[in-house]
């Protein structure tokens, strides 16, 4: 799941400064689940902005909209009918991940689209209210050799051949409650009786499949649209 958090109201307030009529567009996908851009967050932000405008004697109309998944054109298109003209709203604030913001912008070429969230990482809730990073989307999964614990996403240095000297009693030296991924890998492999898999040296990773190779694109030819 994509984890995101709301930008500060001050930031959002500055972004919408030029506009008198805006719409907040939430997403029912990942950002609802991580409590950043669901129906509740949209309603709360809208109420807060209205209140702030009222306090400052500023004219501001805030509409609230929800999209099933903001990363799909089909789900956004019904919105185009709500805001067909430039006069309807002057700007859109997307409460989705960065993907949603861009998809929205592509569907509304005539409107400014602003991000209401900071997209944080790919992760999961460790416990109620705490989300942790689990995947880096590096494009070449090595979890088979590391006991299903990712050293790319969970080691601060992306190390491939064991921990560095900053691993202290299972914790990473960067602090913040981050566990040393390689400590976890060692413990898990020991439990599985598979420590021998650490004997083989991992060669330098092909980072071309990560972001370093430029924006990525995935094509399934059998599904690719003919038109």
């Amino acid at each position: 799941m994509i984890i995101a958090e709301r930008k500060s109201i001050t930031d959002i307030w500055q972004m919408i400064e030029p506009f008198k009529r805006i719409a907040l567009i939430g997403c029912r996908g990942c950002v609802t689940v991580c409590m950043a851009g669901g129906a509740k967050e949209v309603a709360v932000l809208a109420a807060a902005l209205r209140l702030a405008a009222h306090e400052r004697g500023r004219e501001l109309v805030v509409f609230e909209e929800m999209v099933e998944r903001q990363c799909e054109y089909e789900f956004i298109r019904p919105l185009q009918r709500s805001y067909p003209q430039e006069q309807a709203v002057e700007g859109l604030v997307s409460l989705a991940c960065g993907i949603g913001v861009q998809a929205l912008a592509e569907c509304f070429p005539h409107l400014p689209v602003l991000p209401g969230l900071n997209t944080s990482f790919l992760g999961m809730p460790e416990r109620s209210g705490v989300w942790v990073e689990r995947c880096h989307a590096c494009g070449q999964c090595i979890l088979d050799s590391t006991g299903a614990i990712c050293p790319i996403a969970r080691c601060a240095k992306n190390l491939l051949n064991g921990p560095c000297g900053g691993s202290q009693e299972g914790m990473c030296e960067i602090g913040n409650g981050v566990e040393c991924a390689w400590h976890l890998i060692y413990e898990r492999l020991a439990r599985l009786n598979r420590l021998d898999s650490l004997q083989s040296l991992a060669l330098p990773k092909n980072w071309a499949k990560d972001r370093d190779g430029g924006p990525r694109r995935l094509i399934r030819e059998d599904w690719e649209d003919e038109v």
Partner: protein, 598 residues
């Protein structure tokens, strides 16, 4: 997460499943007592699992509580070695147990009564009070329960014709020392036993008896009267701060006792005894921990089930259809066992004795994003994640949705406040009925003379808008009770008073402070309130376990939110009990005065 098939909403779940038995969990004295009592009206399956306490109920409970009722229904006993799983809801709970032969079996019951004994740990087992200089097992040291067993014939005879034969063999002329462990009120059953034994020994057998204690729990039950009687009869009481030692000298046991009221340089007393009886200590067993985890019941700081939950009376727990009686809540609860079991019997008979919930939360399956927030947060474990066929035809990514069991829901509304998808609905207390009645909130005016008046009708309220407007959201269990009391004391507002209105105050009841979220507060402010006041129960006194805590944490964030948009001092939180109406009034007046001066 357990996957469960959606059950049709049922009403009176307990009554509809009359054929199902009541499961009684426990192997000891608590379970036997509870099963015996409840079997007069219900089919009982007793799962014999867990420790057995060595305490004589006939010494601890009143005579009328011990009279055995007629067993009307069947009382099946199944010995289990492990409790593996606990699923289902009120009306049908399913307990998966392992039998002695390794077989795994699912037992179904309309309700479950947790009647586990606490784990007895004899002070003798610690190697104490064996004398430091002797390794032989001492015949002269017995447990308090053993002493009661030996004294039972004496006690029986004391009510009728005195019969002292049989006891002179071992007891006459003894010097008996009864050693109570450290601990106060929670050890009341041991205190009661000690005092009763001492009285019998003193009055019937003519022994010299001394009771050594750290804190004597005379506050509970009828111990106070017995304590006075025993003092008058000549039982000696020794209060210690340092646990007394026992030594053996010239084949004579001596209790080394240091009087805490004497200066340190005074030598300790040596009290010769011929018999020592020690109280058994009771601890929460690992079975209690297992039950707490599997059934989702909270434990108190002492490790016992629901030991610090104020609202769980008469055996009730945070989950409907699950009861907890006796020692599983701590040793002291053993004294309340008859009342608790009677409470369970009443609850089982009625379906539920609890007031009809004011707010029934319902999930809209098409809005639910299965984020599991409600599933995780529900203090009553009323929420299940179920398959929902309706969803697939609406282009939903997930086929499942949260579903709130209508019988298990206790209407706190915590899930409504937490749901990030706004998929859960409940009655909205901010949309009161058109007429002014207690259920839709109360309205007050503060006039220029600084006094508070009630608004008699809604028209009174809407026509007169004072300069200061307050919205009070008050928990029904605390703040609203306080306001309710105030309405009986405050005069009604009359336009003839010819005084200006300084402030208007609207008080709305909420099922629990946990229902209040940031959106509610913002909406109130949007509607023109100058300040929103939240009244909740005291910490640890929430009927829904942590509704007040959730509200407080959530609203601390809302306060930050408000500060970000430049609104300061627009939200306040007040914890109070239902009877604190005068404090509440003082607080309210203080806030209005603050707002006035702004």
């Amino acid at each position: 997460m357990k996957q469960q098939v959606a059950v049709e909403p049922i009403s009176g779940a307990l009554n509809k499943h009359k054929v199902q038995p009541v499961l009684v969990l426990g192997a000891g004295i608590t379970a036997d007592y509870a099963a015996q009592r409840l079997s007069s009206a219900h089919k009982i399956v007793q799962i014999k699992w867990g420790p057995v306490a060595d305490l004589p109920l006939d010494w601890l409970l009143k005579q009328e509580a011990l009279e055995k009722g007629r067993i009307e229904s069947s009382w099946e006993k199944i010995k289990a070695v492990a409790l593996l799983d606990w699923s289902g809801q009120v009306g049908e709970y399913i307990l998966r147990i392992q039998l002695e032969n390794g077989e795994v079996r699912d037992l179904r019951g309309k309700a479950v009564v947790i009647a586990l004994d606490a784990l007895p740990v004899s002070t003798l087992a610690w190697g104490w009070p064996g004398p430091a200089n002797s390794s032989r097992p001492l015949e002269e040291t017995i447990t308090l329960s053993d002493l009661t067993t030996r004294l039972t014939p004496v006690l029986a005879s004391s009510s009728g014709r005195p019969e002292r034969d049989g006891l002179s063999v071992w007891a006459a002329g003894h010097n008996v020392g009864i050693l109570l462990g450290p601990g106060g009120l929670e050890a009341a059953p041991n205190t009661l036993l000690a005092i009763k034994c001492a009285l019998v020994l003193k009055q019937q057998v003519d022994c010299r008896v001394g009771i050594f204690y750290e804190e004597l729990a005379v506050g509970a039950g009828a111990i106070e009267a017995l304590y006075q009687e025993s003092r008058q009869a000549g039982v000696e009481f020794y209060r210690y701060t340092e646990f007394p030692q026992v030594i053996e000298q010239e084949a004579q046991l001596r209790i080394i006792y240091r009087d805490p009221s004497l200066p340190d340089h005074f030598p300790p007393w040596e009290i010769p005894v011929t018999l020592i009886a020690t109280a058994t200590e009771y601890y929460p067993s690992k079975e209690i921990e297992t039950v707490a985890t599997l059934a989702g019941l909270p434990t108190g700081p002492d490790g016992f089930l629901l030991s610090d939950t104020l609202h769980a009376w008469g055996g009730q727990t945070n989950r409907k259809g699950i009861y907890c009686v006796g020692m599983a809540r701590g040793l002291l609860r053993l004294m309340d066992l008859p009342e608790e079991v009677a409470g369970v019997a009443v609850d089982l008979g009625q379906g539920s004795s609890r007031e009809k919930t004011l707010l029934l939360a319902q999930v809209d399956p098409l809005l639910c994003e299965v984020c599991l927030t409600c599933f995780r947060v529900c203090p009553h474990r009323a929420i299940e994640i179920t398959d929902c066929t309706k969803r697939s035809s609406h282009g939903k990514l997930y086929k499942q949705a949260a579903w709130i069991h209508p019988e298990a829901c206790q209407g706190c509304g915590i899930c409504i406040a937490e749901c990030p998808a706004q998929a859960i609905n409940g009655a909205d207390p901010l949309q009161p009925e058109s007429k002014l009645d207690p259920d839709s909130g109360w309205h007050f005016f503060m006039l220029d003379n600084g006094e508070l008046y009630q608004a008699r009708t809604r028209e009174d309220f809407s026509g007169n808008q004072g300069p200061v407007r307050l919205v009070v959201l008050a928990c029904r269990q605390s703040g609203f009770l306080a306001v309710q009391t105030l309405t009986r004391l405050l005069p009604f507002y009359r336009p003839q008073l010819k005084l200006g209105i300084l402030a208007e105050i609207a008080v709305y009841p909420v099922a629990c402070a946990g229902w209040i979220d940031d959106l509610t507060v913002l909406r109130c402010l949007e509607d023109g309130a100058d300040k929103v006041l939240i009244c909740s129960c005291h910490s640890g006194a929430c009927q829904h376990q942590y509704g007040n805590h959730r509200a407080k944490k959530r609203l601390r964030l809302t306060e930050q939110y408000l500060q970000e948009i430049g609104l300061k001092d627009r939200l306040d939180f007040y914890t109070l009990a239902g009877q604190n109406y005068l404090q509440w009034l003082t607080w309210l007046k203080k806030i209005i005065n603050q707002l006035k001066s702004h």
